[in-house]
Symmetry: D2
Subunit: 398 residues, 4 copies
């Protein structure tokens, strides 16, 4: 029943979310030391969350003798360096999303982790929202048949820290920041063993004075024939829009993670002192969520990571998954440039996946396209001619 | 950072929910022993949840030397006896809702707990849903001004265990089973210090072959002038409908805890093997929730209880609150019989509450009922004559 | 294929809505003359809607030789006088809601109309919304079994004209203004032949400086055992909240007529010149409706009225219905004073209605309260003992 | 106030919808003659709608001396021939969507109509839904700033008539059947004068045994930089999913036309005799719409067409618009084959459109990417370096 001792690297917004989760409810895990480049930010963070020690040396934080697990909540361009140090120290490592700025960097990280033989987890929180977990399970259980299409949408008015907006430090713009979530959500729904074949992307910088894209729409074609589609934006107005939709041969799933979750509030603004979090306004109709760290998946994510570590198994989201995500994003950027479908260049560890197929019923040898029962009880059959493929209908008493 | 050791009394549905929560995520608390009248059910429960010991002696479970906290998940008619035993043992006690079958019984329980000086908590989970907690905080922060009206609705097709349906064992029907939740939700929104003055209730047995009511609508009038309204039913079709609405002088809050929370699924029923929980069907449009023990408040409820115990403070929901709830339900049953408003007979510990009031603006001494700006920029004032009270309007350039 | 020629009495908001509807789309009916006390308002109205003639004499408008149908859109206290004049003229008459300020006045109106033998229609638009019409039909078709409970809610921040706020001119406050809609919606769902027996009401003036009630909650008990419940308010914040809910032994219906109908818009307020109608704001999240005169029932209402007139049949909403509504509102006001259920004093023209009943299945003579299938395939029966009424369960292989 | 006399060509589902609308409510227009290839279907249709005459000669129907307006509700492959005949007869012509099977055919139709100088209207109903009309007006009024992205989704389980499924007769599959709606909805939101530059499409036949595509996702790039995105499917489960989303620099619009419009019903299936229309089931949770011909735009569409004809102006949806839609669909099919963006080949009649732009605020010459107010009142500025484009932040007191 012992908990884990954690070193937290980074004191940005994601560090706050992670630590709020790790120290939340009746948790037995605790952050023992926090690293920040800035002594001031480190101290403020430690006070905020009741963390005993703080340091401005990443090495010291990683090698803290009490530490079991290092959580990396640093900007993208610092992941590789930090992970190398954790591998060296031989400790368990959990890295925030995206894993890297591109697939090449991601592949080196994967190799480092696997060579060192350390436990690695990819902190892709949005695959762990309670709704997503339950929906993935429903899909796996056959509730909607074969998945044909997944839409994942993640948009808001733009991130809080400067480095996100800097293409060199982040590796890209809205695709790298938000699309990484969407890709992994899509992969969980179509099946992680379903190979992503190629990618078609539109990306543009429509509003903000930056070099990176602030809007993108991307399609991913999988081996089964299923299509993944994601929309990301740093120019959305109205809050944070996180929605997923899944279509299958036998059903449909719609998930809404933020703006319409059953909490609706109108405030005239006349009541003093109240500040709603993360909403564009404190007046008018507002749509808060219940417990944000639950709804965004942080709680289930860390539970899975630590249970996996305790049990000696792989977590649901692995470092390899993070590498696949980077490979898909690389293809998206290539496609946005070349204006054509681009193959996903990845060392694929899964096997092959069969094409979606529905058993075709036949009538006199012709494939039945559709069948309807008429008011008088007879059946109308829409048939595809076995020879010509032309479509016609008949009415039958059978 | 030590966790709590718990004795669980009862192995029904509520015992499952409680233990799922207590052992959930990375919790440091654990159930050490479970009591059931039936050896078979006790053993199955212990296996299901990894509980080391099981017993058919309530006394043994309560007096287990490792136990800090006794959680009572027994039928209503057994609460008083069990609580007396826990008080005798001098241990912390958490009792499921409702506290008792009526206010007299509840008052004896309250006296027992207070005489013994033990920690007592009232396990009213639905006041602890993350949405409810955040909404209570928003109301307290003034986001919707003074509360004028609260609606709490809790309906489903009826409970699973026989004793619920038996008026003598349960103390009543749908009001006792479901109304107890609604009352406490309403009290949290209008303010717990806001005295419930009187109650008007309609109750009837419309569908099921039982003596207890299977449908009821109840109004509660509070000292501030605010009205609470609750609707309970054991005959609802379509799942479990848990909704709260709050109106205030400056705003509105709508909470939906179950059927419309951002997870919507259609299944043709063609996919094999999938079983959706607690829904009336596994076909057609289905509305699951994310993490049920979070959404229904169990997680935050136990956190508050244990944090209160650790800190030596009172929990948000106390044994006194449970007694107030029973007093209001007693008034509801009296009103359903007498067909008139019935006073709430309770030993009130709160102070007085002022009447809801809005500052009235005046024009030439007449109260302004409404003010509108006309297209040409002039103002139209609807005024209440200071002498006669008759209402008229003027248009003014001021 | 000839249209009707209409005299419109009154140029307030309701006159606008009526005329917008009558002249809307490809309608063949036309308003030929409009009456207003004020020459200026009459002229502006006539220009707005392309009406050829205007007059300040009600008599002249009614007796216009080209007029078939007189539509009364006047304040409540003027209905009786106007209707008497129309009856005298022997023309068809359509009167806005509520029919009168109280049942006595309504009864006199009913007698006047019936003695004169003229066609009379009660312009209760909200019973005619396309959603309501379809839902009434679904209920009549058995889609939700026997109706057990209806909730109708109509709330907004208060009316635009002074006379609404004046108890003497209007006959009351929010109950008379809004409750009249709710009552008729409820009656259509429980069945118009289902006699309203008695009424329980809470009413209070919580916010506005007026003598009339600005908030009320009212219960209506029908002969079948079904309960109607309505909530009205002139202090709601956030727009206009029009919702109905119907529970039946076999199903549930939820209707939302205004704030959540599938049109959701966020505006930063940065775009110039746009004015959203009837919303509290033009910024933040806004919830317009599509075509307001359709969604609020005006279109189907006038179609039914004119088709009924053409066909020589009664419209769906009759003058008698208007009288029943007033009788129920009278009982509500009496109950708000007496604080007990008050009988509905009405000359009932319907017959008796049987009590809601579900066939009770039995096992060994005991009534089956509930039946569940266990995972091992056996059935669990919750039974009500045929002698004692106590409830117990058994598990059976049958 | 005279109505129009109409010849209806075709007696399929669309003919029913059109005639239901034309004869609906208090309309002054009437269908005088209906043409069907089949005498039996023609007679049944005429009886259903009270149409005086029926014929199996298209020529006779068109040249009926009483007819003002010919409405074409025929399969796609018959449009050109029928329109040529109407042009010859010199009558007003309204043609169902899509205008033609491809842009070449559409261009010939456009030329025919313009040479003959007859009135032509393109019956694109979904641009005329009351919600869409109001939203287009809101966008035009600046409520959401510059449009950056539009999503239009139209999916259901597949059409009822055989010819839809036949690529040769229809001109394609789900893109031609459903995408034509989406394209015109998108064009109305981004502005009809905003030139569609190129198109990227994915299309596949995933489920049905046909040659045409049953699923597609298509992107359209406009001259302003705005992107249109549509999703069409004949394999959707759960009813008919019609949703549009619009993002702008100052706001957001979400429209839902069918499955979530404020009418929600659960039916156990226990009530006899009830048949819900167009839903996959009559049990479980069902989501009807209010008045289908209103909600789907038919009413406002025909009003606009006839008002335009009466007034001698162009309708909102013209034959030229129908041709543009075909040109965009042609590009989509080319792209689905070539797997790259394909230019839209169209004779463009609009002018140029400026690129979306937001004024960039500056600080010390650096562009301000984002500005936030810190808790201590100071401002945090995220800036893009004027020389290097790298992004950094500063905190300022100014």
């Amino acid at each position: 029943m012992d908990g884990r001792k954690i070193s937290m690297l980074g004191t940005g917004l994601i560090g706050d979310f992670y630590t709020m989760t790790l120290h939340g409810q009746r948790s037995r895990d605790r952050v023992g030391v926090v690293y920040s480049r800035s002594e001031e930010r480190g101290r403020a963070f430690a006070e905020r969350w009741g963390i005993p020690r703080t340091t401005t040396s990443m090495e010291e934080a990683i090698n803290d003798p009490e530490t079991d697990v290092v959580v990396i909540g640093l900007p993208n361009f610092l992941h590789e360096e930090a992970i190398a140090m954790v591998a060296e120290a031989g400790k368990a490592m959990l890295c925030t999303k995206p894993l890297a700025r591109n697939a090449e960097e991601a592949k080196r990280i994967l190799d480092t982790v696997e060579s060192a033989g350390i436990f690695g987890g990819y902190l892709e929180d949005l695959c762990y929202t309670p709704k997503t977990l339950k929906a993935i399970q429903a899909v796996a259980g056959g509730a909607i048949g074969d998945v044909t299409w997944v839409r994942s949408r993640e948009t808001h008015p733009g991130p809080h820290s400067a480095w996100f907006w800097d293409k060199d430090k982040a590796g890209g713009g809205a695709i790298v920041d938000l699309g990484c979530h969407c890709i992994e959500i899509i992969r969980n729904f179509v099946g992680k063993g379903n190979r992503p074949l190629d990618v078609m992307a539109w990306a543009d910088t429509l509003v903000h004075p930056i070099k990176a894209e602030d809007n993108a729409v991307v399609l991913i074609r999988f081996e089964s024939g299923a299509i993944g589609q994601f929309e990301v934006s740093w120019t959305f107005r109205g809050g944070m829009d996180l929605r997923d939709e899944v279509a299958g041969t036998e059903g449909t799933i719609w998930l809404n993670h933020f703006l319409r979750t059953g909490y609706e509030m109108y405030s005239s603004g006349g009541g003093k002192g109240y500040v709603a979090e993360k909403l564009e306004s404190t007046e008018g109709w507002l749509f808060p969520v219940g417990d944000e760290v639950v709804e965004l998946g942080y709680v289930d994510m860390f539970s899975d990571m630590f249970e996996a570590l305790d049990a000696g198994r792989e977590p649901m989201e692995t470092i390899y998954d993070g590498y696949v995500v980077n490979a898909i994003m690389d293809a998206a950027y290539r496609s946005a440039d070349s204006r054509r479908w681009e193959p996903v260049d990845v060392e694929w560890r899964g096997g092959p996946t069969e094409r979606i197929s529905k058993d075709v019923a036949r009538h006199d040898g012709h494939a039945i396209v559709k069948e309807e029962v008429l008011p008088d009880g007879r059946r109308k059959l829409i048939l595809s001619d076995k020879d010509s493929g032309s479509v016609f209908d008949i009415v039958t008493d059978e």
